[in-house]
Assembly symmetry: C2
Homo-oligomer: 263 residues x 2
């Protein structure tokens, strides 16, 4: 605390800030989502500095590395189970090792489904703080007094109960899509965003969201797969909906970790 206070006093608004902690982003799942998380992270850092009245310069951003590596399909592995679960973990481990060697003290995973391996990966890297997208999102929703939400995600994410668990801990009820809704989401993610067809993806996501809200009212919707906001966030149909982008929440959490000494 004394160090922080002294440093704060010493630094004026026109001096570059002392270097923040180096952080990493584990991406490639898919690569568009990884690129988007870096964009959101940079935005979160800018906002973090602006709120404190700091001068925003290239040199005042934390060093950060984005690893975009091929990771075997997460939903497929979760569906197959058994030894199929090892391949995604091994690929993520190899990338996390490199991020650690680059000096990353905190790492965010740019894929919701991949969080099924969060605990296993965290156990392998005791010196890295591995952020958890669902816990960060639940914390944020809890702080804003939200009581129930709808969850748009992959079959893999539903299977692991990633958000349901984190939301339950925060006392937030979570509504899930029916079978048709889940099919629409998978089609929008795989045949849409991951295949480069954004318009097709948008139609699927909008329809899945409508079905969910038809059953449960206009609840806030968690876009619980990094590919969903890429097509849904700017949809005109979604203008009146409350969409929660866990990627944005995760990016803001990572920015806070990078600037930890300045909190």
């Amino acid at each position: 605390m004394t160090t922080t206070a002294a440093a704060l006093t010493a630094a004026t608004a026109h001096e570059p800030r002392p270097s923040a902690r180096c952080v990493g982003i584990l991406g490639g799942m898919g690569p568009a989502a990884g690129a988007d998380l870096v964009r959101l992270f940079v935005q979160a850092c800018t906002e973090f500095m602006q709120r404190r009245g700091w001068e925003v310069r290239d040199q005042s951003y934390p060093t950060h590395w984005l690893a975009q590596v091929p990771v075997p399909d997460r939903t497929e592995a979760l569906n197959a189970g058994g030894t199929a679960l090892e391949a995604p973990l091994d690929a993520m481990t190899a990338a996390a090792e490199r991020l650690q060697a680059l000096g990353a003290g905190a790492v965010a995973i740019a894929c919701n489904t991949a969080h099924a391996w969060h605990e296993a990966l965290q156990a392998r890297f005791p010196h890295i703080e591995l952020l958890h997208v669902a816990r960060e999102t639940a914390k944020r929703l809890q702080a804003t007094g939200v009581g129930r939400v709808g969850l748009l995600a992959t079959r893999g994410t539903y299977r692991t109960g990633l958000y349901e668990t984190a939301l339950a801990h925060a006392g937030i009820a979570c509504h899930l899509p029916d079978e048709t809704g889940r099919e629409l989401l998978m089609r929008g993610i795989y045949d849409g965003v991951k295949a480069g067809d954004m318009a097709g993806a948008r139609d699927c996501f909008v329809e899945a969201a409508r079905r969910l809200m038809a059953g449960h009212g206009d609840v806030p919707l968690i876009m619980g797969c990094t590919e969903i906001p890429l097509a849904l966030e700017d949809a005109p149909q979604a203008a009146s909906w409350t969409l929660v982008n866990p990627g944005r929440v995760l990016a803001q959490a990572l920015a806070r970790r990078a600037y930890a000494d300045w909190l």
Copy 2:
């Protein structure tokens, strides 16, 4: 050639492609521009695969790493000259060393002004192909039969003649802004984009572009600083202008390098 042909025959549209070459992006200059170059690179890879009728999956993208490191201000260093020129080169060298260790065979620099050190950096890394944004842009313009262009850039980039040289080699005339235009561009880049004020940046860029075209007619405009497209590309005033985004050209060139065996 035989290997490529055999591999092409062996791979069906439903198999993932064999791994492409690992490539790197040297960013942080500023970080928003680095994030944007990754986005453009992923987009370029998607388009590359789609044009060939390949199945686009997460796993069919090349491994790529984005280094977002603090690099001392390039324009300031070029203005100061002498030993001030060493600091940006040292920072970029440290990042390029790490990208090389990560296996990158080709690297793109996400900053036009930083290309003043392109030759020096390339000399230090004989095993990496260091792409050159102005040469790639000039090649592309030449291929489309453009005879003259306007250049929007930083004072540092004007000082080095980065684009003028590459364009002259390609037989393309290059028109530069007057002093007021240059001042507007620097204000838009530093007080605008780099400080998070996109609306202010847009006004500066639009006015600089108008002044340049008032003197030289409706020439295509090269957005020769990675910060410029972030605010200018979507400006309603620019809807009828021909804007060339060298970042997009560079991203496409990097994608071709990554998929070199598949050309």
